[in-house]
Symmetry: C2
Subunit: 427 residues, 2 copies
């Protein structure tokens, strides 16, 4: 069986590896010269991680017998089951589209030293420009924008973040978490301009509705859009991404999609959810490849767990936040907790803050926001709790381990404390 | 309503606080002069944690309006509902017994500088003796024995561990994990004598069936036994601990038990499980106090999650290991994975190893063993997975977050990898 994979990011690479492992003949056609690990970009820019260490070797694919073609696919012929790249045809039995996403730039006039950030080439350009830049503006205060700004600041640059919305990360976190993030950035010397609309970039200066901010370099980090041109041209059902079902099947037979280019639904309300993160790509790639090669795997909606950093402080969320609930018309109750990541007898114990949301009637957990040390695995725990429709009562009685160097005090596990706090709000 | 709590460790303290919060008049009668956090003992001994930092202030109780009595209970009159201590009677509507456990010492002749380890007084004695001791023998290779030995070694002492069983921690981990633990200790200069029966301790020398090991100080860390004398005398149903049901009710009306003195069942096979750990104490104390004060909380069996350290490397387990399965006659399949705690591009990334066990027929997760950085929260995640009867397929498709500084690479989450490994063993 011939499996052709278009795209070589996380979704494409994993899909190719899984399909190969399951016995298929696999061709991966990739536009990018190399597999650059995008989430490492901020740290490569600052020199904290060497560029080469953020590149995954292609031998990961080729040594497993995957045919790697560096080329751009121009057409898909769904009748003849052929993928065309630079005039060469590749026949497929099953096709997996993993074309990823591209950085979004709103229509505006742009001049000067202005960069978007997506692949390794972008990173190299930014690194090069940053050498001589003193004042750098980052437009867009999402996770990546914040990390890039933080890393540039650590390099000794003057850095500002310009954000259209009222808060940085407003689409990701509830207000109180956004404010903490903003405070941390301000305390570390980053200038923040929220509720500020960028009108144009003129000779690297950021012209906004609040005035002109001088800079000698600008990084645009406004978000990404699914790369769906090829899919549209091929006649696939495309919304904001390529529409897929729980098997990662598209609207056309024998064609699957996975990763940033695909649009799947939230586990909470069954509605489309933007989940353009690497782990979603990996999971969808695995599901697509398993089903494409005769297996049977269903993805029961996405919980969309994410984690990032603000000057060394981890932040993360999973499921729905309050804004999501309001938009979806879901009534909820909430629980808060503050704790430490170790026993309070440990001098290097660091704070953790947890907020949990539960659906009001069923008391089932639907979301979490966290900030502080060792929260990433706790985000995963809540992700599983959402997947398994865990109730408030069950979380409050969850068994957990304790050790002075490894966890909070036995009665200070923040997830349990937040569940208890929500429980109290009921009585 | 009068709630009397006997014992002021984790179970007793939490039970008192919860009962008080729920409106009861609460008296806590405690033998110990202070509330010493036992899991910190190894680190207090080495001076890594100051003694005072491992003592919880009694104001935690008294400032909340709990009547604290430092005294020993001699009798319980279940007819008159009276608890007697030093001739003073305390009337109860509901009684919560949380008498804890005591260090087990097998019958043998003992002379010299020999110590058991349980409370703060024991710690002080060991600290004092360790000042002049050069060669120290630790008898018993469980979690605490290993941590005490490691801390003493870090202080520059010559340290040996003498263990009756074939492996250190044999009752806790499967062979391959025990061997890793032993290797780590050996590499750090600790002398290990397994399969060695201690016959007596003579002038601080350890006389065994394999010969006499010279030492000038001995720490006995052979395990603990439930403190059940008072319960037996009172006529409660006692097995290895005070038998309780899912409400933490004992066999006698209006009397509850919680923590190390109580015996409750495993969530996996419903059979009694030794779970003398602080977090179990906290959970049971909470359940007992809630039910004693008119609430309704049921504990659905214990998963018994534990974590400890071997020279800075965390180790942990939850649920059943292979030995437990064999004893219980449970057929299982297993999955292994090795990963890192961060992206491989991070220079300080540390290894993680995960082993998962699933019940063969249902494919439901029943246990995990882990070693390496950031495993404690993953142990908790599997604890919840066990509680929620999560299957192999569900774990393999779990959503999780990824970030270079905070988690493994997107396709390297060890829990998911281990589930996939088990899945492969099925095909």
């Amino acid at each position: 069986m011939n499996v052709v994979v278009i795209g070589g990011g996380a979704a494409g690479a994993i899909a190719a590896l899984v399909a190969k492992k399951r016995g298929a003949d696999v061709t991966l056609i990739r536009k990018d010269k190399e597999f650059f690990v995008k989430c490492s970009s901020p740290y490569v820019i600052s020199g904290d991680v060497e560029y080469e260490r953020a590149v995954k070797s292609d031998s990961m694919l080729t040594s497993n017998g995957i045919r790697l073609i560096i080329d751009e696919v121009t057409d898909i012929d769904t009748e003849k089951k052929i993928v065309r790249a630079s005039g060469i045809d590749f026949f497929y039995n099953k096709l997996i589209i993993a074309t990823g996403a591209y950085p979004f730039v709103p229509p505006m006039s742009v001049s000067g030293s202005v960069f978007t950030l997506r692949d390794g080439e972008d990173v190299k350009k930014i690194m090069d420009a940053a050498k001589s830049a003193k004042n750098i503006a980052v437009v867009g205060g999402g996770a990546i924008g914040i990390e890039v700004a933080s890393e540039l600041k650590k390099m000794g640059k003057s850095v500002m973040i310009v954000e259209l919305l009222d808060h940085l990360m407003e689409r990701v976190y509830d207000g109180e978490f956004c404010e903490k993030i903003e405070r941390t950035l301000s305390e570390n010397g980053i200038e923040i301009h929220t509720s500020t609309k960028v009108e144009r970039i003129e000779n690297s200066n950021v012209v906004t509705d609040k005035g002109t901010f001088e800079a000698d370099m600008v990084v645009l980090s406004i978000g990404v859009r699914s790369e769906v041109e090829l899919a549209k041209k091929t006649g696939l059902n495309v919304d904001r991404g390529i529409v897929v079902n729980d098997k990662m099947e598209t609207s056309l037979r024998d064609i699957y999609a996975a990763g940033d280019c695909a649009q799947y639904v939230s586990i909470i309300d069954g509605k489309p959810v933007p989940s353009q993160i690497a782990t979603t790509a990996v999971i969808e790639g695995k599901v697509a490849a398993t089903n494409a090669t005769g297996g049977n795997m269903s993805l029961n909606g996405l919980t969309n767990p994410i984690a990032s950093e603000v000057f060394g402080t981890p932040i993360g969320r999973v499921g729905f936040n309050e804004l999501d609930c309001k938009r979806a018309g879901i009534e909820y109750i909430k629980g808060y907790a503050k704790s430490l990541n170790k026993y309070d007898s440990e001098k290097d114990a660091k704070p953790i803050e947890v907020k949990l949301l539960f659906e009001k009637k069923s008391k089932v957990i639907i979301g979490a926001e966290m900030m502080g040390a060792n929260i990433a695995e706790r985000i995963d725990l809540i992700s599983l709790a959402i997947q398994k429709k865990t109730t408030l009562g069950e979380l409050a009685l969850m068994n957990y381990c304790a050790h002075p160097k490894l966890t909070p005090l036995p009665f200070m596990e923040p997830i349990v404390m937040a569940a208890e706090n929500a429980l109290e709000s009921l009585s």
